[in-house]
Amino acid sequence: MSPALVPEPAPESVPETAPVAKAVPRTVLDASDISRALTRIAHEILERNRGADPVVLLGIPTRGVGLASRISDRIAAVEGRSVPTGSLDVTMYRDDIGLKPARALEHTDIPPGGIDGKVVVLVDDVLFSGRTIRAALDAIGDIGRPRAVQLAVLVDRGHRELPIRADYVGKNLPTSLVERVTVHLTEYDGSDAVLIADQAHPDKTRPDRTSAEKKSGSTDKTGASA
């Protein structure tokens, strides 16, 4: 075969794409993926607990609250009755509270029926080190004594630092520690998506969820705060 027949790949295109792909976050779940995952989680919650009767949904701010209300809507659509849904701020229960500047508190809203004897389903966006969930378990202990606590997350990205696992997982997402997983929800960010970026911002060595970042509206789970 004559070498002239084989078109040579443009050599300049290779170095162009490599650095660009590193910086641009890629979408791992789009809006319909998220919707399907939440519908499945809603059904799994009903199946596991044999109906909506004992269930109380508690979202962990910020995006866990939005996810909890979406799961609540789906349960209501299936069962014809709504489940008590609230929010649980864990800021004061975090194990790194004395290591960072004081953070603004988020809203805690325990449904009127309380949580004693109920099955509390904690809802969060990304499960990472497990430290947020440990803090949430401590917070629940101060509020009441549920019959059981279960955990629903949209994304499980691994790298647990504590013996904690999720009961309901939207998607298992194997990641490396330097990657950033970001959840966008329409309520807070204008669109639904789960994004993954190869590297943390170069200006942040350990991006944690600071109050300023929360205000700007992105949840980055790269540090030990997740």
Binding site: M92, G98, P101, A102, R103, A104, D142, I143
Partner: protein, 315 residues
Amino acid sequence: MRHLLSAGDLSRDDAHLILDTAEEMRSLADRPIKKLPALRGRTVVNLFFEDSTRTRISFEAAAKRLSADVINFSAKGSSVSKGESLKDTALTLQAMGADGVVCRHGSSGAPHLLANSGWLTGAVVNAGDGTHEHPTQALLDAFTMRRHLGSLEGRRITIVGDVLHSRVARSNVLLLSTLGADVTVVAPPTLLPVDMTTWPCETSYDLDAALAKSDAVMMLRVQRERMNDAFFPSAREYTRRYGLDVHRMAQLPDEAIVLHPGPMNRGMEISAEVADSTRSVIVEQVTNGVAIRMAVLYLLLSGTSETPNTEETTA
């Protein structure tokens, strides 16, 4: 924000942050376990050189609900009565490792001195200094008004009574004007400071004229212990012109509330009927005081103690 010394130091964002945090802290009162772990391992010293019931108890309850260790100090029965200076008292507290010092002192500026002298590394909270300021009282008053009236932007608030000796009045005027309220101070001329033009508020000598357009009325205590001069002819005359009784209360708009920082002189600046009426939020002010002081202690003490310069702006 490293210390809370004056209500005037707070920006509108700082004030809203404290009030919003207090809103979350207040929901703790409805829980079976009224305790949060935020200040575990921190030590708060209540340094009270002047008598106080509600402020000291309120700060103590707030610190304990946040799991801090609380040390109470009152000048009576301490080495201060043997002549120990403020500096030596401060150095003692520093040696014991106080993370936060809540200071009430009869001399204006004492907490300022504690905060800026370098004697202490902990955060200093002014719990009332002389006739100067009482910022947490102003915050709890603003918090109480906000819960009843909504946003304080454009609200008309009347502060009545002994403004000259009142640290509550000064802190309230500064904070409420920061929050956008229109404040009117009503007092007999002898109980107003000499130059009111620097205060961000209106001044009046006529209570009846101000009442009809007030969303909230704050009655100040007539501070007999600070009155070493004849400021008004008789208690009866003061009550007639500046006391709030049921007839005066009837002039208030329907939704208006009545506040008093306590302790009240019933029958002097406020009649017993008014103090116990449904418009009066005086008991609620005490409940809210714990929530506000929890918010202040949380925001000052919960974070890292070695604060880098970049974090100076975050409260």
